[in-house]
């Protein structure tokens, strides 16, 4: 297992390298540091001195990929690409491109806490609620409840999450005044602000997830061991909960696990709608301000989490299903 994990981590590092190359190419080739400086400084009277100063301040005053002025390995290492890649891999994210921008690393750390407060309870509740609904539908399969339940799921998944948010905000915050519309406060008071986004986010994904899990359960139900369990006289409830649920956990973990990166990254839409200062809102701010240092960092952090998640899911398999051996 250790060697398997090491292999996975090595491959993960390789993938991160690719991600880094791709994002660097995307950001710096189309949008050269000169363009960035010009856009960031703004105004009409931009002198070359001003540009050079801006670039030097942020370490952009080097060639992109290859430094012709140097010799030996320095031709490669004294470039923006090398600097940025190394600092990313060392998890030093530097400062934002904007003048007022602070240290990205600190900001990411601070905001990740907020994102976690929103996304962790959401993740747990989501899995529980979706599994429960799916099990309910499966228990009443071939009845009207199942039929209309699935139709309800299809209708729910056909509604954009933005609709849930807007209607939820108007209904619960403005008309019923049950929760604040938006905002955040650190500490225990955050609960007040988090309840509504969590519920709405849960509902907006319930249709998709419950229908998916239902299909997974039905796939398990067709298998031989279920017939055996019924043949030996187990009640339907026991069959479902003791046998089917456990075996369906593997596909469920895979599917739910793919959301794990977003537990840390937060939800772009929900955070910015509810004014929560999490990572998702950070990304949206960066995109609207066109601050590429932040976007690049977030891409890196995102893929780092993604890779970590899949290693975690692999480990989780061995825990759920003793037959699985990593190797």
């Amino acid at each position: 297992m250790i060697s398997y994990l090491l292999r996975r981590l090595w491959y993960g590092a390789l993938v991160l390298l690719g991600v880094n190359l791709l994002t660097f190419f995307l950001f710096f080739t189309v949008n050269t540091p000169d363009d960035m400086a010009r856009m960031s400084i703004g105004g009409k009277h931009i002198t070359q001195d001003l540009l050079d100063h801006w670039k030097a301040e942020r370490g952009y005053d080097k060639p992109l990929y290859l430094n012709e002025a140097r010799h030996g390995t320095e031709r490669l290492t004294d470039t923006i690409f090398w600097d940025r890649s190394i600092s990313l891999f060392e998890l030093r994210f530097g400062r934002a491109d904007a003048d007022s921008g602070g240290d990205i690393g600190q900001e990411v750390g601070r905001r990740m806490v907020v994102s976690l407060q929103l996304a962790l309870p959401l993740f747990v509740l989501q899995v529980i609620a979706s599994t429960a609904l799916a099990l309910l539908l499966v228990m009443f399969r071939h009845t009207k409840l199942d039929f209309w339940g699935v139709i309800g799921c299809v209708v729910m998944l056909s509604i954009s999450s933005l609709f849930y948010i807007i209607v939820g905000q108007v209904l619960f915050s403005r008309l019923l005044k049950l929760a604040p519309i938006s905002g955040y406060e650190p500490g225990f008071g955050a609960v007040r602000f988090l309840v509504l986004p969590i519920i709405l986010s849960l509902v907006s994904r319930l249709g998709t997830e419950a229908r998916l899990y239902r299909a997974m359960f039905l796939e398990e139900i067709g298998k031989d061991y279920v017939r055996t369990a019924r043949a030996k006289g187990l009640a339907e409830v026991a069959v479902l909960y003791r046998h089917v649920l456990r075996n369906a956990l593997i596909p469920i973990v895979t599917s739910a696990g793919s959301y794990l990166p977003y537990v840390f990254l937060g939800s772009l839409v929900f955070e910015s709608f509810f004014g929560l200062p999490g990572l998702g809102a950070y990304v949206i701010e960066a995109i609207t301000k066109q601050d590429f240092a932040i976007v690049r960092t977030m891409v890196f952090v995102g893929s780092l989490l993604y890779i970590a998640t899949f290693v975690l899911i692999d480990v989780a398999y061995t825990w759920i299903d003793p037959r699985v051996r990593l190797g």
Binding site: V15, V19, V30, S160, A215, V295
Partner: protein, 484 residues
């Protein structure tokens, strides 16, 4: 003669329609494909959705013929050069000119005859805060307070009557066509459809057509007299915007999924067939792509496209062209970033297929790998391609709304559901609430996405026998179809 302006997405839409027609020809020639598509339409939900989608497609196609109308030569202007309007119109604009022309000052409620906001006007020498009358909505009413209800009702009734006529006409044509196909008498076909007999649930399709026709009748009879869905902040008709948004949604849904196909199919089959280093390289490629959070990757690409367009503004002379290129490139970006899932699926399927006897036999006969992949593998994975394409269609329409909210979606000047929701968000937080834009966007988007989802389910069930088990089915099956 107006000057035709073929925009990028127009050309793409026409090409797509042409290739869909070509595919339909292939289906008609191939008995197995025909049988599968029959299975799709045996499902009432899928058939009704197909009707709705066909109507939306017609709107899309009508909205994909752009032209610049010829201007009347100015009096006394020298020269014979024809002058064209600077604004690009589409065929749909021409059809909906009643909606375009009836522009108001600002917000107005659905069916309203007065403006939503009050203004200070001098009436009989006194300054009063009143809601002014609309320029078009209920303009021909002399005494609106008493006449309004009756006028709306009369127009609605007239519209319903027209709609019923239209529905009846469509029904007669459809029943006639079915009767011809079955070589039966018209009356007996009509009776069997009415009793919902036969393989294909035509009755459900007829009901769908009837509902749409009735709604269309009401809308047409209101056009120019009332705003069925109200007007937005600049007084534009909301219904018009919603209809225009259908094209944007369709273009994104279809173009972006089609854009994923070349990469996914070619790389997926190559990886699965050749294995070895090609497989490793392709796997690495799509692992890298899919390990970047999707929204971020798309945002990054779209920002770059944006910067490119800003730097080369001279390439795109009119605003419509710029917005269109942005939409086209957004689809390309969605395609280039979204092929990993399908590629993974096709790779796994190809790996299974290449071990099968017919492929091994072809190999033993010395058929070249390229030929095996094209002739033997591709036709056997084509159904997966189809299923994933139709499944992605609806999710991309939903995705567009999120992307527009994040600020990397379609151009704000272009009508889209995402843009409408974005504006509605501010309107909904105002006081009093302006709800009709939001409701209109919601209704249209839900209709389109729901239809797409139901149709996709039908296609998946027909082409993937394994998926059929997951359909909800009542224990007592529907009355078995009468054999003819």
């Amino acid at each position: 003669m107006p000057k035709l302006v073929p925009l990028w997405t127009d050309v793409a839409v026409w090409l797509l329609v042409a290739s869909a027609a070509a595919y339909a020809l292939i289906v008609l020639r191939s008995p197995s494909l025909r049988a599968n598509w029959r299975k799709v339409f045996r499902d009432a939900g899928a058939l009704c959705s197909a009707v709705i989608l066909a109507i939306c497609l017609a709107i899309t196609v009508a909205d994909s013929v752009h032209y610049r109308p010829l201007l009347e030569p100015a009096a006394g202007a020298a020269g014979n050069a024809a002058a064209y309007d600077t604004v690009t119109h589409s065929l749909l604009d021409l059809l909906l000119s009643g909606l375009v022309d009836s522009r108001e000052e600002t917000y107005s409620r659905p069916f309203a005859y007065v403006s939503f906001t009050k203004e200070s006007l001098t009436i009989n020498g006194q300054l009063q805060r009143v809601a002014p009358r609309l320029a078009h909505g209920g303009a021909d009413l002399a005494d609106p307070e008493h006449q309004w209800g009756r006028d709306v009702l009369a127009r609605a009734m007239a519209g319903l009557a027209y709609g019923a006529l239209l529905a009846l006409g469509c029904g007669v044509v459809l029943v006639g066509a079915v009767a011809r196909g079955r070589r039966e008498r018209f009356a007996s076909t009509a009776a069997s459809i009415w009793c919902n007999e036969g393989e294909i649930p035509w009755r459900a399709a007829l009901w769908t057509i009837a509902v749409v026709a009735l709604l269309a009748g009401v809308v047409v009879s209101m056009t120019g007299h009332y705003h069925v869905m109200g007007t937005d902040t600049t007084g534009n008709d909301v219904l018009y915007q919603s209809l225009k948004s259908i094209r944007t949604a369709f273009v994104i849904g279809s173009l972006a999924t089609v854009a994923t196909l070349p990469l996914a199919v070619v790389l997926g089959i190559i990886a699965g067939y050749f294995r070895g280093w090609a497989d490793e390289a392709i796997q690495y490629l799509y692992t890298v792509l899919s390990s970047i959070p999707n929204v971020l990757l798309i945002a990054a690409c779209v920002l770059m496209v944006q910067i490119y367009i800003d730097q080369h503004a001279s390439l795109f002379p009119t605003g419509a062209e710029r917005a269109d290129v942005k939409l086209f490139l957004l689809c390309a970006v969605l395609g280039l970033t979204g092929w990993a899932g399908l590629c993974r699926l096709l790779r796994a399927e190809t790996m299974k297929l290449r071990e099968l006897d017919f492929v091994q036999a072809a190999n033993a006969f010395g058929v070249s790998p390229t030929r095996i992949m094209v002739r033997h593998i591709f036709p056997n994975v084509a159904h997966l391609m189809l299923i994933v394409t139709v499944l992605d269609f609806s999710s991309l329409i939903l995705y567009e709304a999120v992307l527009s909210y994040v600020g990397v979606g379609v151009d704000p000047s272009m009508n889209s559901f995402g843009g409408m929701i974005n504006l509605a968000r501010i309107e909904m937080s105002g006081d009093p609430i302006v709800w009709w834009s939001f409701a209109s966007a919601f209704g249209f988007m839900l209709t389109v996405v729901l239809a797409a989802n139901l149709f996709a389910d039908g296609v998946r069930d027909a082409f993937d026998p394994r998926a059929r088990a997951f359909r909800p089915r009542l224990a007592i099956a529907r009355k078995p179809a009468a054999q003819k």
